[in-house]
Amino acid sequence: MTAGGRSQIGAPVRVSDPALPKTLDALSRPGRRAYDLPALDVPEGTIPEEHRRAQAPRLPEVGERDLVRHFTRLAQRNFGVDTGFYPLGSCSMKYNPKVADAAAAMAGFFRLHPLQPESTVQGALELLWLFERAVCEITGMARATFQPAAGASGELTGLLLMRAYHERQGDPRRRIVIPDSAHGTNPASVTMAGYDVAEVPSDARGLVDLSALQKLVDSDVAGLMITNPNTLGLFEEEIRELARTIHEVGGLLYYDGANLNAILGRVRPGDMGFDIVHMNTHKTFATPHGGGGPGAGPVAVTERVVPFLPKPLVERAADGRFFWDHDRPESIGRIHGFHGNFAVLVRAYAYVFGLGGDGLREVGERAVLNARYLAERIRSQYPLAYPGPPMHEFVATAKPLRRHGIRAMDVAKRIIDLGFYPSTVYFPLIVEEALMVEPTETESKETLDAFADAMLQAAREAREDPHVLHEAPVTTPVRRLDEARAARQLKLRW
């Protein structure tokens, strides 16, 4: 396959009107319009002059056809799971079932106002009630809140729950322990929760260094925040000891659910000793990530943390009626303006209840099988950062290519030309030239083999023809972009 347009296997047709401007602003023509509103059927309103806007905003003036071609073009310049393999580590970019979109498209869901009287939203409340039971069973927890709009929001919620819990014990604490391999949102959330970060190193196995942890913890430690499998894709085999260590000093364990996909139906955070768990529905439960969001980050907790959950929670009355329970005196309050990302939760519900218990377990199995298989296929050129058996994802390193002047990013860019979305690169930070690969369970062996072949080809080229990697990508709408310039000469708007 060459850089030539047409000879790319599977090249799409070129989008039209090359001579026309490419931004909405440049497409704008005074007096052109797409909008179309009914004629006013009441007397004019009376907004006082001093409150009126003097000058109209410079919004684009375009026709509906302009809009359609513009955004169709933008869409075709974007790569999604529906276009191809997307093995972005830590993101669980699995296939997003269309049935979930159909569920969210029911007027009985998307046409509901969040503050409608309970009598008019019994179906929505029941859905949340049922889904809460399911996520609690999956995580081994007692109750859950659906307010957090994403994983990071779940983290902060969980940490505020820890704070409330400790304050309730009359012993506010100051530190949260996180491993050096943690995702950036973990320390950031710790700060926003008003705690200090205490970082525990990973040991030679890539696991939390237990003895280091034991030295670290004291009665000022509010809790430990980890994901398991960890961000290296390795299972923290000493999880029970880690939990004991924290619990012994009265701390709580927070489970970052980003990697829950690996252990669905096999291991439950609650059974590992975790007290608080968030889930990323846009990872584990296959809700579309929308190019950045929306997602949802439900948080489930054990009994002792339940009193502090955000309010309201959905409860079922004796007569079977569902209602919002606002009467939660110890609640930390409100994490979201309303009830969280409901339409995302509907999709997640469809996924969980569509698969059922056995289906969920199979998801985890296949996710691990795919990652293990792919790691094995490429390890000759991209050694694993740590020896242990990877779970749903693995972290390899491109270090061996360094001596050919090739960095992990060069490999990633070459992979683009070979037709795939690349893996995550340079994360976790503790691995040099990290390539973090998460194929997910929804990819076929053929796809894994094709990707492995591409990775091996890139390694060969690194030795024989590094130029190809440095030049890459050459088959994309734009080539490598000048990020330094973007940050230096800020152009953040028209």
Binding site: E64, F71, P117, I416, V478, R479
Partner: protein
């Protein structure tokens, strides 16, 4: 359902390569005492048609805004969503993509972010925006964090006419941030300019406020400026075709709920946290920001920029912990704003204001109904008082086919979007008469 494509042969071949003989061996290194030795107690899987049947039954147990006429407000509104909005924002290449970590493969999302930021700046009269936050309430929390960081001051003054859920959110997040919002007293539906001491980080005003009323916004923000505090406005994006924009009335930071921008009611989410600020605060902004640049051949392209603010780089020192945001909702908002254009925005704002004014007049003709706050100007929403608990009135109206609210203390909020017709307003008047009769 099941979406894993593995055939039995695939599984065997893959296990063979790994030298394993069963799936269980993939998990054999997991300590026995944490393994779940039973099946999950989640109901057995459903086929697609059964599943949609179940969900359809749940959906039909709700009475939605096509069945009941929706006059509800309180931060979410039944504005019309043009068919073109989700026909485009819903395209699967956009919907099924992740945060644009590899810009060459994500120019669509990145350019859409850039255009969204641009339109938000135009709308608010401010200088910089971002690729979205979770929703209006959390956008306010982030704005307060920004203000406290930027001013190095502690106190957070909040007008008593700010949506109580937003105040509640500030209280919740304040537990971590180490502050408690101080609520300024309300006087007949609006607030008076407070004295802003040099320990005040910010003054938060919602305009139009939670009752739909217009605040003496310039005075309030003058006080903030004079006190060296950041002026934070909670705004309604669809009011800005008619009302002076935050940038003009003295706001340093504007935050709002973007649900009204082409997004469905969705029982409260996903919505859109809109934020805009002045350039001096750009390095303190939370979240993703798209910027324009060029590629190695000089072709224009877009990237995520100023990432040094963000959690994946700055970790515990980041301006925020936000990672996944509401990008796709922002894309829909871009389609919607471009659909409206400047004239549509104004027409739509005028329509809302006119219908609300007509509704206020029509409904207060009903015996036993009065405006909670007489006289003051309002935009698309207002509060009514009755000779009985507002909750009773709300319930009686549901029975007559109308969604009105929310109930705020003794009052009932009534909101009018461009969608409500004179006939519907008149019918609501009749229904109220019955309900109160």
């Amino acid at each position: 359902m099941q979406f894993a494509p593995h055939t039995e042969d695939d599984v065997r071949e893959m296990l063979d390569l790994l030298g394993l003989s069963s799936m269980d061996e993939l998990f054999s290194h997991l300590p026995a005492d944490v393994r779940l030795e039973r099946a999950l107690d989640v109901p057995p899987g459903r086929s697609e048609m059964e599943l949609l049947g179940d969900l359809g039954r749940l959906a039909r147990r709700n009475r939605h805004a096509d069945e009941l006429v929706c006059f509800m407000g309180g931060g979410a509104y039944d504005h019309y969503v043009p068919a073109v909005v989700w026909a485009l924002a819903g395209r699967s290449e956009l919907q099924t993509s992740y945060t644009p970590y590899q810009p060459e493969l994500s120019q669509g999302i990145l350019q859409a972010m850039f255009e969204y930021q641009s339109m938000i700046c135009e709308l608010t009269g401010l200088e910089v925006s971002n690729a979205s936050l979770y929703d209006g309430a959390t956008a306010l929390v982030e704005a307060v964090n920004l203000a406290r960081g930027a001013t190095g001051r502690d106190r957070v003054l909040v007008a008593g006419t700010v949506d109580p859920r937003y105040v509640e959110a500030l209280e919740t997040y304040g537990r971590g941030g180490g502050y408690g919002p101080e609520v300024l007293p309300m006087e007949c539906g609006v607030v008076r300019a407070p004295d802003v001491g040099d320990d005040v980080a910010c003054l938060v005003v919602q305009h139009p406020n939670v009752f739909g009323a217009l605040e003496p916004i310039r005075e309030l923000f003058d006080a903030a400026r004079d006190g060296g505090a950041r002026a934070i406005q909670v705004f309604d994006p669809l009011s800005l075709g008619v009302l002076a924009p935050p940038g003009e009335v003295g706001a340093d930071i504007a935050v709002g709920e973007g649900q009204v921008l082409g997004n469905h009611l969705n029982f409260g989410g996903p919505y859109l946290g809109v934020i805009a600020a002045r350039m001096r605060d750009v390095r303190r902004l939370p979240g993703r920001i798209a910027g324009e640049t060029v590629d190695v051949d000089g072709e224009v392209g877009y990237v995520l920029t100023l990432q040094a603010r963000e959690q994946h780089i700055r970790r515990e020192k980041a301006t925020s912990n936000i990672c996944t945001n509401q990008t796709l909702i922002a894309v829909a908002a871009s389609v919607y704003l471009a659909w409206l254009g400047p004239d549509g925005l104004r027409q739509l704002g005028e329509a809302c204001a006119a219908k609300a004014a007509y509704a206020a007049q029509r409904l207060t003709e009903v015996p036993g109904v009065s405006l909670t706050f007489e006289g003051g100007p309002f935009f698309k929403e207002f509060a009514l008082s009755f000779d009985r608990p507002a909750g009773e009135v709300q319930a009686a109206l549901v029975e007559r086919g109308f969604l009105v609210g929310p109930v705020m203390g003794e009052s009932l909020l009534v909101a009018c979007t461009e969608r409500r017709t004179r006939d519907e307003i008149d019918a609501l008047g009749e229904a109220m008469k019955e309900a109160l009769g």
